[in-house]
């Protein structure tokens, strides 16, 4: 059996690094792993997603709609856009943060304000105050690692070496702050 985790966000939020660390963790634990992402427009404010599948044997690198166990969203509206990837009993972990798109930026169409309410009524949801916690820590960019910490708690497998994987994928000077961010995220999921 294979399991699927989808990570979504907006270009520049660190979706790809999060997915990379996640991939490392599963590879090091001896799982068969496939990871997929679509390149191209991601640096230009578009929606970004990465898909990780792990298990004894994985064939497809892409996740089918309705088949993900976990959806991690670094932004509210992206959670709403991708929630159909989740199984009925799947878990959503969402960063409590809004990024305008060109469509909502000019104020003609408002940014929807009932996203978290709607989703948490229908899906098991953890809302993480990732961006604010990262700013408090002194580096807004580590929001993705706070989300990774929360994700690690939800995955809850004790054979995964998260801290090693973080060390392997971030620059030496940022290891400490990322490890701190990871712990913050871990404690956000009760």
């Amino acid at each position: 059996m294979s399991k699927s985790i989808k990570v979504v966000g907006v270009g520049g939020q660190g979706t790809i690094l999060l997915a990379k660390i996640l991939t490392t963790v599963f590879v090091e634990a001896g799982y068969d792993v496939k990871m997929s992402e679509i390149h191209g427009m991601s640096q230009r404010g578009g929606s970004v997603s990465s898909e990780i599948r792990y298990g004894d044997k994985v064939y497809s690198p892409v996740i089918e709609k309705g088949d993900a166990s976990i959806l991690v969203s670094l932004e509210q509206m992206e959670a709403a856009r991708n929630v159909d990837y989740l199984k009925k009993d799947g878990v959503l972990i969402v960063n409590d943060y809004k990024i305008h798109s060109m469509v909502t930026l000019n104020g003609n169409i408002p940014y929807p304000d009932t996203i978290l309410e709607d989703l948490s009524n229908r899906v098991k949801t953890y809302v993480i105050d990732g961006t604010n916690k990262a700013v408090e820590l002194g580096l807004d960019k580590v929001m993705n690692i706070i989300m990774l910490g929360a994700l690690s708690k939800v995955i809850d497998l004790d054979n995964l070496k998260w801290e090693d994987a973080i060390r392997e994928n971030v620059k030496p000077q940022y290891v400490d702050i990322n490890l701190k961010a990871f712990k913050i995220g871990l404690n956000e999921v009760k």
């Binding site: 792993v33 929606s47 709403a80």
Partner: protein, 597 residues
């Protein structure tokens, strides 16, 4: 040792292990990272070409001279390279040669969905199709053996998901391959008609021999699961089929797909009660099976377009319905990609937009194609690399025949596209007394594919300092008399240039000169040339902001309009002080933030 690699990284590793001597490419999603990864193996000589035709031609030369050579491109790039490909198919090789085509089922970042497996059949060359990263590496190594054994360039067909998905790869050792001494071979490489006619028969003979190889190739094999249903598949579709059906069906997995193995397919079809052909895009295997008289199920059940992901297969073959969490479409709106904050194209398109009713804009392939969207709506056409100048010229000739329509044609393309095929198009315009306004948006990098160097950047693939093509000098040498170079972040200067060009009745060129914000490497010259580049920020004086939203027409993602206060603010984390919004604001409410001056 096992490593997790993308298909593109695995191809680069295979090229390394196969001791390839020469590699070339032009960037294009999803193939770009192949050459970038090859360039990290120091012993392989690798270079960016200005276009795909040149990339393949240099690889052809390298093969003829006795080296193993390699070229990679996206699917539409093979169209550009098709001319040399079809004759190289006749001559064959000296050192082995592999051409990667990276196709895009689903068109994630392409203008069409052409299935380049047809090129293998059309050009009469052998083809390999990997399904994952391990195969990407292993098949590349084998491709060189096949290329040299059967004396042919090999078409190596990948697709977006094979290129960009990562999976585990068992790495191998590099096998040393010596350069082959050069000997003139007139009867092989000089494709004059008399020789071409002889080579034509050689090609037929080769493909007949390869029909036999295809039957026994290790890349074509059956997985017998003792089932009633059989599935024939290739590439990523094989992985998808496995995901959808598991071991409830048997498989004929095809990796060597030109020529296709007639006996293997025929025997497989006879063995199972029902046979599905699962392949993305064209019915390439299906038509072959049907030609063999087999009753297979293909495109009548599975879609002819898009990706053949497991859910698509399940829906079509198993009538399974969606079982996950429902979407609520009221909770989200689109998030189309847009020009980055600080993008030099923004100021230009803002000013050009004011002439919307007087012009028709012929667009091209590159970041500036993002001007199709809100708030610019600035593109009438987009066909292929380099087509804006030439298609615009054709449009202008017809518009001139119309007495009731005096709109002018403005054509736009970037620096890399100009070097790719734009120069030829511009030659045509001036030679034929054209009257278009041609804009070269020079952001000093190949932007859309991820900031690759090009002949205008002063660096080559190895990051050595190199000759910088002088765009203005080239334009002048072609014979264009009307040239203006502007800073696109200076709206008055940009507006003046557009007005100047609209008044002229002969070919003109406007060069916008400001670098891409995402460019990875700047040198001291750049900072001297582009005053205070990225060093300042702009801010809104809230009391002066009337909430008129005129600044939002610049389309900058760092401007945020807050409906409750009816004020605009600028995101200080992302603003890079390009001043475009500052110049647009009618109330002088946007100023330089003096903390950053």
């Amino acid at each position: 040792m096992k490593k997790i690699l993308s298909g593109n990284e695995a191809v680069a590793r295979g090229v390394y292990e196969a001791s390839v001597h020469f590699a070339s490419a032009y960037p294009g999603t999803p193939s770009t990272e192949i050459l970038q990864n090859i360039s990290t193996y120091k012993h392989i000589y690798a270079e960016w070409a200005p276009n795909e035709k040149v990339a393949l031609e240099t690889a052809i030369g390298a093969s003829i001279a006795g080296g193993r050579s390699f070229a990679a491109m996206k699917h539409v790039g093979v169209n550009v390279a098709a001319d040399p490909l079809f004759t190289f198919a006749y001559t064959g090789v000296t050192g082995g040669c592999v051409l990667v085509t990276a196709d895009e089922p689903g068109m994630h970042s392409s203008q069409n969905e052409q299935d380049n497996r047809n090129y293998a059949k059309f050009a009469k060359i052998p083809m390999l199709e990997p399904s994952n990263s391990q195969e990407s590496k292993d098949m590349i190594i084998d491709a060189y053996e096949l290329s040299e054994k059967y004396d042919s360039v090999i078409l190596f067909r990948m697709t977006t998901r094979v290129c960009h998905s990562k999976s585990l790869v068992e790495l191998g050792e590099k096998k040393e391959v010596e350069l082959i001494p050069y000997k003139k071979n007139f009867g092989k490489y000089v494709a004059i008609p008399a020789i071409g006619r002889k080579l034509r028969h050689k090609v037929e003979e080769r493909m007949n021999i390869l029909k036999g190889y295809s039957e026994t190739s290790k890349w074509n094999y059956e997985i017998d699961n003792n089932s009633k249903i059989g599935v024939i598949s290739s590439g990523i579709a094989f992985e998808y089929a496995n995901e959808a059906f598991g071991d409830t069906v048997s498989y004929l997995k095809l990796g060597f797909t030109n020529p296709l193995p007639a006996n293997l397919i025929s025997d497989f079809c006879d063995k199972y009660e029902k046979v599905y052909i699962i392949e993305e895009n064209d019915p390439y295997i299906e038509e072959f099976a049907k030609m063999l008289g087999k009753n297979v199920i293909g495109k009548e059940l599975f879609p002819y377009s898009g990706e053949m992901t497991p859910d698509v297969i399940r829906r079509a073959a198993l009538s399974e319905n969606y079982k996950g969490v429902e979407l609520n479409e009221e909770l989200f709106v689109g998030r189309p990609p847009t020009f980055c904050t600080g993008c030099p194209h923004r100021g230009f398109f803002y000013e050009l937009g004011k002439k919307r009713k007087k012009i028709i804009v012929a667009g091209d392939i590159g970041c500036y194609s993002l001007a199709v969207g809100e708030p610019y709506d600035m593109m009438d056409t987009l066909i292929c690399m380099g087509a804006s100048f030439s298609s615009g010229h054709g449009m202008q000739k017809i518009m001139e025949m119309k007495e009731d329509d005096d709109r002018r044609i403005v054509t736009v393309m970037g620096d890399s596209t100009f070097f790719h095929t734009g120069i030829n198009s511009l030659i045509n315009t001036v030679y034929n007394k054209g009257n278009t306004i041609n804009v070269i948006l020079d952001n000093r990098i190949t932007g859309m594919t991820g900031q690759q160097d090009n002949p205008g950047t002063g660096l080559n693939l190895a990051q050595e300092t190199s000759t910088i093509m002088d765009i203005e000098g080239i334009v002048r040498a072609i014979g264009i008399k009307n040239i203006r170079r502007v800073n696109p972040n200076d709206l008055q200067e940009t507006k003046d240039a557009i007005n100047w060009a609209l008044e002229l009745q002969e070919t003109s060129v406007i060069i916008t000169d400001w670098p891409c914000k995402l460019k990875k490497r700047y040198n001291d010259d750049d900072f001297a040339r582009y005053d205070k580049m990225w060093q300042t920020k702009d801010k809104v004086i809230e009391d002066l902001c009337t909430g008129c939203k005129v600044c939002l027409r610049s389309g900058c993602a760092s401007l945020i309009f807050e409906p409750s206060t009816k004020k605009v603010s600028i995101n200080p984390n992302t603003c890079v002080g390009c001043d475009v919004c500052l110049q647009i604001c009618p109330y002088d409410a946007i100023v330089k933030d003096d903390k950053y001056v």
